[in-house]
Amino acid sequence: MSNHYIEVKNLKKYFQTPGGNLHAVDGVNFTIDKGKTIGIVGESGCGKSTTGRLMTMLLEPTEGEIFFDGKDITKLTPKEMVEYRKKIQIIFQDPFSSLNPRKTVFHSIAEPLEIHKVYATKAEKENRVYELMELVGLSDRFVNSYPHELDGGRRQRIGIARALALSPEFIVCDEPVSALDVSIQAQILNLLKKLQLQFGYTYMFITHDLSVVKHFSEEIMVMYLGQMVEKAPVKELFANPRHPYTQALLSAIPVPNLKKKKERILLQGEITSPINPRQECRFAARCSFATEQCRKEVPDITDLGGGHSVRCLRIHEI
């Protein structure tokens, strides 16, 4: 057994749809060490949220294993699962739709504590709610407010407080700042970072925005149509992207700096269908390096050493 805190092996999730099997997540492998962050990046529909929900067991995998502290959580008994669920939490993109509109801030944050019967007395529970509000920077005066009375940044703080309530170890952050304005984004990113330093949380940080994840994670996995196409330590990925898709993604980010305008790789076409994908490289339709072979063969993963791996048939030529 490896000594990684989290190890995911050949994780798959297929959804049955009228058109056939939708390969939302198709054989993903990664590890995360304790207290570290993995960034999961890719365009909408590439399977990021599905991966996150599989990690929290909100969804059952079609295939594969998820080891958490050496234990395969896909094989837990229901009783073990209750314990596991406390250790792992998720923060969603849209705090509005993940909060109950009829619950006040107090009740939203108290809910997980009540469900898991963490405290015997009301006073203890109240203390914890106020402590959590302080941790996430929510002023006491909002304790009786309803979600619709608050702005997006404060709602996201409630979402974070709820996730922290049960003192988790591992938190999936699914686009936690994508719906927020830039000045508020920075506040929330700093908060998540501070909490990690304070409590040693392990994060999976899901985003479509590479610049957000850059200063946040140790390692980045780029996904395309359900598959990992490239994985590397963060510095390596930015300095030396090797997969044609990663290269295009990096070059497409508009940088707010006039002195650093770069050559842009423009992709043709758009993401193809994830339903019954063909035996080919899933990026072939948009890749300027694609050859006949790329349309006949599913590329294997090439390990380039130093934790850098790439799924491309022509990795040694381009």
Partner: protein, 332 residues
């Protein structure tokens, strides 16, 4: 200097709602020259869309009301136009693209029909000719002719937005207003749409107003930039002025908030606090509750929007020499 196409002076728009008066746009002044692209940057609620709707004559009245100012297109104040004249102006001289392409598309017509209809309405052309022109427009936005007879739902988000751009450009408007046209798109698709807009800009010389919250997008295609906060323009200037020498504390705060892909930082430098409620704006400088440089003066008196170097304006007491700070620290 090119000719002025649009000049907005002291535009003020309020919404009179049951919960109070929303001061959405407060004495906004902006200029767009021919062939130029102006970026309006600001966070949610800053008043960007309301400003654009003001130019289009599309502010919801009631509850909205234009309470002051002028919008000069050439030498005409378009705020004096009646509804009929405004309708003629829209599409022909000014068009607008919205963030959600479906607001402009009709799900029951093919894309070619929708563009042809706009063309037929504005340029006395026959059905066949309008259709031919519509197909040319689609090709211009890089949608192959063989997909012209499909319906909007058969198109991806990026393609729908390109159809909307084709519709907006169909009548060769002199001014195109694009309100967050790429915000809902993935970055690689955003790059395609931005490239297309850049290309159109150089080819057709259409003037544009690009509304966005993304300074990266601004740096790609704008010539002039206006920074909007709480219904006001707090700084404006050329692209170089704003990016190389930002003056206002809010502008600097925005730059500090963006995770920069080319830099190593552990923590970002966000602007503390929140955007004020436009139905309850602070007195004095509207940014003072969040400003690191604020002094007592800022909470009682309003700074003046002034020119500091040719074409570079800001609204802040630091630059009026009324505060101890001599300048605002540039973001790292």
């Amino acid at each position: 200097m090119q000719k002025k196409l649009l000049e907005i002076k002291d535009l003020t728009i309020k919404f009179h709602t049951d919960d109070g008066v929303v001061e959405a746009v407060n004495k906004v002044s902006l200029t767009v020259h021919e062939g130029e692209t102006l970026g309006i940057v600001g966070e949610t609620g800053a008043g960007k869309t309301t400003t654009a709707l003001g130019i289009m004559g599309l502010v919801d009245c009631p509850p909205g009301r234009i309470e002051g100012g002028k919008i000069m297109l050439d030498d005409r104040d378009i705020l004096q136009l009646d509804e009929d004249e405004f309708r003629k102006l829209r599409g022909k001289e000014i068009s607008m693209i919205f963030q959600d392409p479906m607001t402009a598309l009709n799900p029951v017509f093919t894309v070619v029909d929708q563009i042809a209809e706009v063309i037929a309405n504005h340029q006395q052309l026959g059905e066949k000719e309008a259709e031919q022109k519509a197909i040319e427009m689609l090709e211009l936005v890089r949608i192959p002719a063989e997909r012209a007879y499909e319906y909007p739902h058969q198109f991806s988000g990026g393609m729908k937005q390109r159809v909307v751009i084709a519709i907006a450009l169909a009548c060769n408007p002199r001014l195109l207003i694009a309100d967050e046209p790429t915000t809902a798109l993935d970055v690689t698709i955003q790059a395609q749409v931005l490239e297309l807009m850049k290309d159109l800009k150089t080819r057709s010389k259409t003037s544009m107003i690009l509304i966005t919250h993304d300074l990266g997008v601004v740096s790609e295609i704008c010539d002039q930039v206006a920074i909007m906060y709480a219904g006001e323009i707090v700084e404006s200037g050329s692209l170089e002025d704003i990016f190389e020498n930002p003056l206002h504390p809010y502008t600097n705060g925005l730059f500090g908030s963006i995770p920069d892909i080319d830099k190593e930082v552990e923590f970002l430098s966000p602007i503390e606090g929140l955007v004020p409620d436009p139905s309850d704006l602070p007195k004095g400088c509207k940014f003072h509750p969040r400003c690191k440089y604020a002094q007592h003066l800022c909470s009682v008196e309003e700074p003046v929007f002034q020119e500091y170097s040719p074409g570079h304006y800001a609204k802040c007491f630091v630059y009026e020499g009324k505060l101890p700070a001599k300048e605002v620290k540039k973001y790292e």
